[in-house]
């Protein structure tokens, strides 16, 4: 597979009364972007996906032939009226998908019969069943329970293809991550690769900050990595 890369070159995205600026390059691997509620994470997601046009600057893609984005609110993205129809619309096997997300037997359920968490699981699994050169997930963990967050983080940790960008305010359960970014004062900052990025990560969850203060810098931020650091003597 050729190298895939995305460049956000001095982009400025103007929203109602604020402007997001971003300058950086995105390599193959898993990127986590954090920032306060309202800091511009969803704006960045839409811009990376090509759904919002920056008012200045340029987004360049190299080797990217497929792009997918999962929105924060799953109810705005589904198109099927039943679970089976939704799976079919993504070209995936309903039985296999439903088994992986613990919803076996719900093929004929109306989309409206699913809880928000179940709908989110369904949409994410349909998308993750396929490979995309650039995959953007806006708040994938919200509305999921702890079991599903851990299952999703394991699945994302094992993903090897392309560039995956996760924009999240999650505080405890993350996949094994390659790069950390954060939006501070409406500006995107790259904190670099793991684990060096951890000490620069200003909006890091308190559990990770406490580990750093205790001089137990985790190797990465997945639950297994955090537990390993916690248990280190």
């Amino acid at each position: 597979m050729p190298d895939v890369k995305v460049f956000t070159k001095n982009i400025r995205v103007i929203r109602q009364n604020w402007t997001l600026t971003a300058d950086g390059s995105w390599s193959e691997g898993l990127h986590v972007v954090t920032g306060a509620v309202g800091s511009g994470k969803s704006t960045l997601a839409l811009t990376l996906a090509g759904l919002l046009k920056p008012s200045s600057g340029e987004i360049q893609r190299e080797g990217i032939s497929s792009v997918m984005m999962v929105f924060q609110d799953p109810e705005f993205q589904v198109t099927g009226s039943t679970v089976e129809e939704e799976c079919s619309s993504w070209g995936v096997d309903p039985d296999a998908v439903l088994q992986r997300i613990n919803l076996s037997g719900k093929n004929s359920f109306s989309i409206r019969e699913l809880s928000r968490g179940e709908l989110k699981r369904l949409l994410l699994e349909c998308v993750l069943s396929k490979q995309y050169d650039l995959l953007i997930l806006d708040e994938p963990f919200s509305s999921l329970d702890c079991y599903e967050k851990e299952r999703l983080s394991r699945e994302l940790s094992e993903r090897r293809h392309g560039i995956t960008v996760i924009l999240t305010h999650e505080q405890s359960i993350f996949p094994r991550t390659d790069y950390v970014w954060e939006i501070i004062d409406s500006s995107l900052c790259c904190r670099g690769k793991m684990p060096g990025a951890l000490v620069l990560w200003r909006s890091a969850p308190s559990l990770i900050k406490n580990l750093i203060l205790a001089d137990k810098i985790p190797k990465n931020i997945s639950p297994d990595d955090l537990v390993e650091a916690l248990c280190r003597t």
Binding site: S115, S143, D145, C146, Y147, Q171, S203, V227
Partner: protein, 223 residues
């Protein structure tokens, strides 16, 4: 004490449960019955059978404040002051008293400067603090928070947690997927498939969940 006895409502089935005053976190998977239990405690739902008494009164005779998962989507009024005053006005509290209580509530939460602002111009974080103020302005004995922390960033979650801990409500009932936060509650109730699998102090409940995703990460190397 909140006493629940032989409660049945759809898939929720609780033989006996006692909830002491203080902060109680209800945990469990999506669909385990957390919101249903909160709604029964708040008097929004009446169980098909069984009894629930809050210090010997039924929930509908109690003052309850409620904040749901998307407080910013449930705004009723144009300005911040009107939104916070709404529960007092619905109760026909005299205007002078309403103004005084709204002012005191906003002062205590550091949002007095927002009084005349349009709700729709506020940031998401400000809307959430205003929603909490609107739930607290009538001094409820029971404050119910239905996963309203699941869309907050770390700083906002900490700020809101400080307000929650300072809230004068005698019973604070919340459901959350943040197990670190649940572990800092006075009481934890774990639901599975509509039934209580464990209830009590965090030190009692969480060890029984040792091999599950509900066990707080910060506890995972405890022996």
């Amino acid at each position: 004490m909140i006493h629940l006895n032989n409660i049945h409502y759809r898939s929720l089935s609780i033989e006996e449960l006692q909830i002491p005053p203080g902060i109680t976190s209800i945990i469990g998977r999506n669909g385990s019955g957390k919101t249903t239990l909160l709604k029964i405690c708040a008097g929004i739902l009446v169980p098909d059978s069984g009894t629930i008494l809050i210090d010997n009164k039924v929930p509908r005779d109690e003052e309850v404040g409620w904040v749901n998962e998307f407080p910013e989507r449930n705004i009723l009024f144009e300005t911040v002051g009107d939104e916070i005053a709404s529960s007092l006005r619905f109760r026909h509290v005299p205007c002078g008293e309403t103004d005084a209580r709204v002012h005191a509530c906003m002062e205590s939460m550091g949002i007095a400067s927002l009084k005349n602002r349009s709700m729709h111009e506020l940031s998401v974080g400000e809307k959430i603090v205003v929603s909490l103020a609107a739930a607290l302005v009538h001094d409820p004995r029971i404050l119910v928070l239905d996963e309203f922390d699941s869309h907050l960033d770390a700083n906002l979650a900490q700020k809101v947690e400080r307000f929650v801990r300072r809230a004068p409500a005698e019973y604070i009932l919340r459901c959350t997927q943040d197990m670190e936060k649940a572990a800092r509650s006075e009481t934890v109730i774990c639901l599975r498939n509509g039934e209580v699998v464990s209830a009590g102090k965090p030190e009692y409940v969480f060890p029984s969940l040792h091999d599950t995703s509900l066990y707080p990460i910060s506890w995972r190397c405890r022996t």
